[in-house]
């Protein structure tokens, strides 16, 4: 019934996000002098860093043909636990941070194990996990607890030579993730599994292990995002991670990564996060009401999904 969508002359799934980001930045810079101020630009980057880390992890699972809806709550759990465990003590920073990354890996390992053993779509599985984690957070506390240590706050809010440290962390993470996906055996296997799991299995790729690792990576990045978020907020706010999973998925989709798996890039996902951050920053500078901003965000989600449709006809 549906006529095949003719493919555009340029591959919008690859270049679209850069055109969008360029247009957004140029328009904002041309129209709003406040946007151009160095302090504001640094803020946009700082606001992007936590979500950027989540989006990188999400790109791994989506590339593998999976999805992870539990990342927002995993990050939220890390925010609460990290602040509670640190209690503002600088010496506790490193051990707590490592424990939180291990916690993220553990959540990912549970997701991965269940995805491989139960006959449940990852969407549903991680959706259920979202509630389990949310319940865990609120059972632990329903108000802000603890305090992020000084070093963690510096990581999230500090600058080196005017460049936000959290932005440098994000860039480093994106480069590392990009290299893993494009240059390692694991990366190639990941893309192969996402492209066609059955073909990958018949080529001898350990599909279950790849999927398991994809979830673990997503969990670790969610925890890393949670740590940055904890540093930004300074305190363990239990709602800190709410809705971040959707933002992360939208960023990945904006970046042209196919929700069906097998095609995409972490670098473009980070660009997707920047587009969201610029849009939100511009709406704030224009003093658009928070309510209208919510509505606009919903419309952006819908538009991004519609623009990134599976290419194959049918279904």
């Amino acid at each position: 019934m549906a006529p095949g969508v003719t493919s555009p002359a340029i591959d919008l799934s690859r270049t679209g996000i850069w055109l969008l980001l360029g247009a957004a930045v140029l328009l904002a810079a041309a129209g709003l002098p406040e946007f151009r101020e160095a302090g504001n630009l640094a803020n946009v980057v700082r606001q992007s860093s936590a979500l950027g880390l989540l989006a990188i992890g999400q790109t791994f699972v989506i590339l593998a043909g999976l999805i992870d809806l539990s990342v927002g709550m995993a990050a939220g759990l890390v925010v609460v636990l990290a602040c509670a465990l640190m209690g503002g003590d600088a010496a506790a920073t490193l051990p707590v941070a490592l424990a939180m990354l291990a916690l993220g890996a553990g959540i990912g390992a549970v997701n991965g194990t269940l995805a491989n053993t139960l006959r449940v779509h990852p969407l549903i599985l991680t959706f259920g996990m979202l509630f389990v984690l949310q319940g865990a957070i609120f059972t632990y506390t329903d108000r802000s607890v603890g305090r992020a240590s000084e070093p963690l706050q510096t990581l999230a809010n500090g600058d080196i030579a005017g460049i936000p440290i959290s932005g440098l962390v994000l860039v480093a993470a994106a480069v590392a993730a990009h290299l893993v996906i494009t240059r390692t055996r694991f990366g190639h296997h990941l893309v192969a599994v996402g492209g066609h799991a059955e073909s990958a299995r018949r080529s001898g790729i350990p599909v279950a292990r790849i999927r398991f690792l994809a979830f673990v990576i997503s969990g670790v990045f969610a925890a890393a995002g949670g740590l940055v978020l904890a540093g930004r907020l300074g305190t363990g706010y239990p709602l800190a991670g709410s809705g971040l999973e959707l933002d992360a998925i939208v960023a990945v989709v904006l970046g042209g990564t196919a929700l069906s798996g097998g095609r995409g890039s972490v670098v473009r996902s980070v660009a997707g996060v920047l587009v969201l951050a610029v849009a939100s920053n511009v709406l704030n500078l224009l003093e658009v009401s928070a309510f209208v901003q919510i509505f606009v965000k919903g419309v952006i989600v819908i538009a991004a999904i519609l623009a990134n449709q599976p290419r194959r006809a049918g279904g």
Binding site: M1, A2, L114, L118, R119, V120, H121, L123, I124, L125, F127, G128, M129, L130, F131, V132, L133, Q134, G135, A136, F138, T139, D142, L246, I249, V250, V253, L259, S289, A290, F291, V292, Q293, I294, F295, V296, K297, G298, V299, I300, V301, I302, A304, I305, L306, Q309, P310, G314, G315
Partner: protein, 321 residues
């Protein structure tokens, strides 16, 4: 047991597991608390769950079709506010307000349906986005505060117990569920839902009006969402801008529990109603045994995962036989 008999048993279990689960949960309830044996308490539980139950009827249609509607919680919030504002504290406004509210729900559902019918996007993500947009609309419409006033008598009537026992709201849920069930079982539309849900390609090749049925199913989900919003307003009597927040997940959990899977093509409203009851009884049990309120979320998450896993397992076994 012969393989054929085993396959029949598995099919029977897959189709009726939820009723067994309902019975088990109920018996556990009876063992834990005497309250579960009193009709007064049970009817109150049904009254309590009416908004979720009514919305779940509509979502069952889209899920039989192989879709999903996560915007239903936002629709409940929006329509509860719209209804309160339109009533404006005047009994004469009651019926027009209900009509306008239903139209609002239908409108959101139709937009969902058109976007999904004419594209190949993931309904899961699309309706998540729609939930955000509708939540924003609700905030814009209400200015962020609880606006509007319920018509006098509206809440009172809805919560009156007929014969001193059965709340009107519980009856409304039963009637709407019955109507929904009859539409699913006896109409061409109901039959087409299953045909399209079990194999969309084949349905298209067979010349079924796939797009029209898709739009109608999502529109109905919006309409039942609006009716759920009205029920929520009737239950509480006060307007709130985020009353429906998170209810979409209870709806989804109930539908999945009831045997309507995310893959589509199976399940139905009878199972959904049982799923709704299992969920609310489980929540009440969580309260009664003294677990903190937030443990409900953990229970709900576990139920979503385990129920889906169970049905997937049973389906695979019946499929192999």
């Amino acid at each position: 047991m012969t393989p054929a008999a085993r396959a029949r048993l598995n099919r029977f279990l897959a189709a009726n597991a939820i009723f067994v689960v309902l019975l088990v949960v109920y018996l556990v309830g009876v063992a834990v608390s005497e309250a579960f044996t009193t009709p007064h308490y049970l009817f109150n539980v049904i009254r309590q769950v009416a908004p979720v139950g009514i919305a779940a009827v509509g979502v069952t249609y889209v899920m039989i079709l192989g879709g999903v509607d996560l915007s239903v919680g936002a629709v409940i919030s929006l329509t509860a506010v719209v209804c309160a504002v339109q009533m404006d504290g005047d009994a004469a406004n009651t019926l027009p307000a209900i009509a306008i509210t239903c139209a609002a729900g239908l409108a959101v559902g139709t937009v969902n349906g058109v976007l999904i019918a004419y594209s190949r996007v993931s309904p899961f993500i699309l309706t998540l986005g729609m939930a955000v947009a509708v939540y924003g609309l609700t905030q814009i419409y209400s200015g962020g505060t609880a606006r509007g006033e319920v018509a006098p008598g509206f809440r009172e009537v809805a919560n009156t117990r007929l014969g001193g026992l059965v709340p009107v709201l519980a009856i409304a849920f039963a009637v709407l569920a019955l109507v929904g069930y009859l539409v699913q079982r006896t109409t061409v539309f109901g039959r087409q839902l299953f045909l399209i849900g079990s194999n969309r390609e084949t349905a298209i090749l067979a010349g079924l009006p796939v797009r029209r049925v898709t739009i109608a199913a999502y529109a109905l989900a919006g309409l039942f969402g609006a009716l759920g919003g009205i029920a929520l307003l009737a239950r509480s009597g006060v307007s709130s801008t985020s009353a429906g927040q998170g209810l979409e997940f209870q709806v989804l959990a109930a539908v999945v529990l009831g045997g309507t899977t995310f893959e589509g093509g199976r399940g139905g409203i009878a199972g959904t109603v049982a799923g709704v009851l299992v969920l609310v009884l489980a929540f009440n049990l969580v309260n009664i045994v003294g677990l903190v309120y937030h443990m409900q979320l953990v229970v709900m998450g576990a139920i979503i995962i385990l129920a889906s896993a169970l049905y997937g397992h049973l389906q695979a076994r019946t499929g192999n036989a």
